[in-house]
Symmetry: C3
Subunit: 142 residues, 3 copies
């Protein structure tokens, strides 16, 4: 498995919630964190997605929004993963911020240096990773 996305989470499908057009796929990671992805029903069939199947959730780091507020906002994003900042790697304009979730899963986000300063992102700071369900690509081994 050689995927360029910084976030490639291996887990097991724990629920499928079919809608009129798309299906919500719930993926539970080893640490117990649950991700929700929205994919087409055609993808569900083609990938053989069913409860218990092993799958990977692929999420590029620039798609992750970080909320470091005091929980004063609720969001439409389906995935709101609470954890603690583990590291901040600064670049010229952007920085890569890694958030450790309960169970040890690391979520990587690319945000601007300005955001790092404004939000006071540093190791130990509590933060949530917001990820839209429609931004997740699912993968299944052949």
């Amino acid at each position: 498995m050689k995927i360029s996305a910084r976030n490639v989470f291996e887990g097991q499908v724990s629920a499928l919630v079919p809608g009129a057009v798309n299906t919500e796929v719930h993926l539970t990671l080893p640490g117990g964190v649950e991700l929700v992805a929205v994919v087409t029903q055609a993808s569900v069939r083609e990938l053989g997605l069913a409860v218990g199947v092993s799958a990977v959730a692929i999420i590029k780091a620039p798609w992750v929004v970080i909320d470091a507020g005091a929980g004063d906002l609720r969001f439409s994003a389906r995935n709101q993963l609470a954890g603690t900042v583990q590291s901040v790697s600064p670049g010229a304009i952007n920085a890569e911020v890694s958030i450790a979730l309960p169970g040890g899963t690391l979520v990587h986000a690319i945000v601007t240096q300005e955001a790092v300063a404004e939000l006071g992102l540093a190791p130990g700071v509590p933060a949530r990773a917001l990820i839209k369900a429609s931004h997740i690509i699912l993968g299944v081994r052949r």
Copy 2:
């Protein structure tokens, strides 16, 4: 409110257009600009979205496409915000371009340095920010 996204627009819900699966939420910003976001009907209920409610639209700068053409193209993107380039901050590969909309709202986009050169992006140049409705996260204060 501590959100890493460069674009966090506060406004008021001005219309809700329910569909079969999702709902289009129209958010009017203080300067009169209207944004359209698509969220699930579950989110509409959970966030208590209704006409008149205050909400924020969260849009990461890498999600914004800039059109600096003479209006010769029409786009499928639901949000096509016309304004004027206010600033261009160059980095190594990317640049951050800020577009001022009527009413003063600034939209921030991350584009490549190549795009800045090819499009002639500089303060004063007219430009449109293209944003897919499905790329907007909505937030509501508790």
Copy 3:
């Protein structure tokens, strides 16, 4: 046409697959590569999308995921474009990777330097560009 996105592919609409809410638009590029975009039915009407119409598919480079594996994974992403890495332009944190598809179309992706190293991305390496259909903006000339 002055669009900031690194990927602006001109092609012809080759099929429309209407769904309950959205429509899948198939765009065939001059080299024969087919892209699938999902847009609202309102966009189909407003842009006059129909088989044979010329259109452009707009895809920002940070939205493209690269798979350089041995084909051991299947993905939910609707677009899985197989080609060969043509160039890698390194930056501070990120790199721009260009993948040549059959027929000569170049797909540009922004990935981290870490991914370039881990995946062994270099000219001549086979790779696939994964692009979600919902991440494509369509444009039509007036």
